[in-house]
């Protein structure tokens, strides 16, 4: 066992794995930020179901929610011209996550009492002012646990990128796997991969739960 630990966790291997973790976290960060921006926009527009853009947003959301992520990653990787495969596949992850965020935002928006809009209008707020100062701040406060859960899902979803050979954490683990021969070494690497993902995701899920608890106590 000690032997296996020494062969697996050599200095270059550890640095390589750390690099993979860095890539995973960076991709997740970009994807989450962009998806929240685009997803909020989609969620807002989606509420105007009778209008053209509302229909379009609805179509987008249904399309992405009912087809697998891997399909979009492969599709983007091979059909978008130019750029690196990493960027193209991450764009797919972003487009996919935005559809989920849109539904979360919409759920939050619909839980805001209608009186809030009316009160804001009667005070002379314009449509965009109402959104920016009254509605969205309340919405985001409500959906923070759901958004955090989506962050966890996104971090896990980046592991699909390994299927396209992108050097994120899962793929870097696979590369190291290719260099070892003993069963104990293989188990050690899988254990390490699982442990790191677990630490990251579990920490976030504890945050989700404590936030949820505090908020439901406030209500």
């Amino acid at each position: 066992m000690m032997n296996s630990i020494q062969t697996v966790f050599t200095r270059p291997n550890v640095l390589f794995l750390l690099d993979g973790i860095k890539t995973t976290l960076l991709i997740s960060l970009y994807v989450v930020i962009l998806s929240i921006v685009f997803g909020t926009l989609l969620g807002l527009v989606r509420n105007y179901e009778k209008q053209f853009f509302g229909k379009l947003a609805g179509f987008y959301i249904e399309l992405f929610r009912n087809t697998p992520l891997l399909l979009w990653m492969l599709g983007c990787a091979f059909l978008i011209p130019g750029s690196t495969i990493l960027v193209k596949a991450s764009v797919a992850l972003f487009l996919y996550t935005a559809a989920v965020v849109a539904e979360i935002v919409r759920g939050g928006l619909n839980s805001i009492p209608k009186g809030q809009f009316e009160a804001a209008h009667s005070q002379g707020f314009s449509f965009f002012q109402t959104l920016a100062y009254i509605i969205l701040p309340q919405t985001f406060k409500k959906i923070i646990p759901s958004l955090l859960s989506q962050v966890i899902t996104t971090i896990k979803d980046t592991s699909f990128l390994a299927g396209l050979g992108i050097m994120e954490f899962t793929r870097s683990g696979q590369v190291i796997l290719g260099k070892v021969t003993k069963t104990s070494e293989v188990f050690l690497i899988y254990g390490f991969l699982a442990l790191i993902y677990f630490i990251i995701c579990f920490t976030l899920s504890v945050l989700v739960r404590s936030w949820h608890k505090n908020n439901s106590e406030n209500v």
Partner: protein, 236 residues
């Protein structure tokens, strides 16, 4: 001279001449999804009931199961079953890995749905049942679970949709599922465009009716003021 447009007509014609691989992939995806769903439901019900049990040890077992399977990516779990277990001498077919891997993973999520469902049934129901001399098992069997089923149907259906989408991880281990069929046809014929469109359409046909049913049913429950199970963590 053939057009080089990724969606050119001749590419579609070629795809439909090779449609056999798509239909067998579709069938494979359907089989894996149904069996994995059955497994996930069984695990989910057990985990859900355990996680509301009075016994701390039983509750802990359920908790550990849920946390482990929810916080490690499915891809890692599948890779582990494919490479790791094979290395230890346990060689499983891709089909088995699909059913067991996806089933165990979604079992954790369904467990949380079932748990939320049980907790959503008012506590007075359980107390009333005990007062009438029902045992714990009888209370669950006759009072709690039947009331819960209706309420958890929408989140369960959403889980089924995620499960179907997640069977596509099999493509990464060459599992002969729909995604794999589409990807291997695409890279062999270079007809990426039509290939992914057709695969997307086939997944959509499976998932969209389920997702629509879930939404409509949830609205109906809300309008009727009946038990609606709110899953705060929308994960997957």
């Amino acid at each position: 001279m053939k057009s080089t447009n990724p969606f050119a007509m001749w590419r579609w014609e070629d795809l439909f001449q090779n449609f056999d691989s798509f239909s067998s992939g579709f069938l494979r995806t359907l089989q894996v999804a149904i069996l994995a769903l059955v497994l996930a439901l069984v695990i989910g019900i057990v985990i859900g009931i355990l996680s509301t049990a009075h016994n701390l040890i039983l509750r802990s077992i359920a908790r550990v199961y849920v946390e482990i399977f929810q916080n490690i990516p499915l891809v890692i779990q599948i890779f582990f079953m494919y490479n790791g277990l094979a290395m230890a001498g346990l060689v499983l077919s891709e089909f088995t890995i699909g059913v067991v891997g996806v089933g165990l993973y979604h079992g954790a999520y369904i467990g949380e749905v079932v748990r939320a469902g049980i907790l959503a049934v008012p506590k007075g129901q359980q107390e009333a049942a005990y007062a009438q001399g029902f045992s714990y098992t009888q209370t669950m069997r006759y009072i709690i679970l039947p009331q819960m089923v209706k309420g958890i149907l929408p989140p369960l259906t959403n889980q089924a949709v995620s499960l179907i989408k997640n069977t596509s991880v099999l493509a990464i281990i060459a599992g002969a599922d729909l995604m794999y069929a589409a990807d291997s046809y695409a890279s062999f014929s270079l007809n990426y465009g039509p290939s992914y469109v057709v695969a997307g359409l086939l997944y959509f046909i499976l998932c969209f009716p389920l997702a629509t049913f879930s939404r409509k049913y949830e609205e109906k429950l809300k309008n009727n003021d009946s038990l609606v199970v709110d899953i705060p963590e929308v994960m997957e």
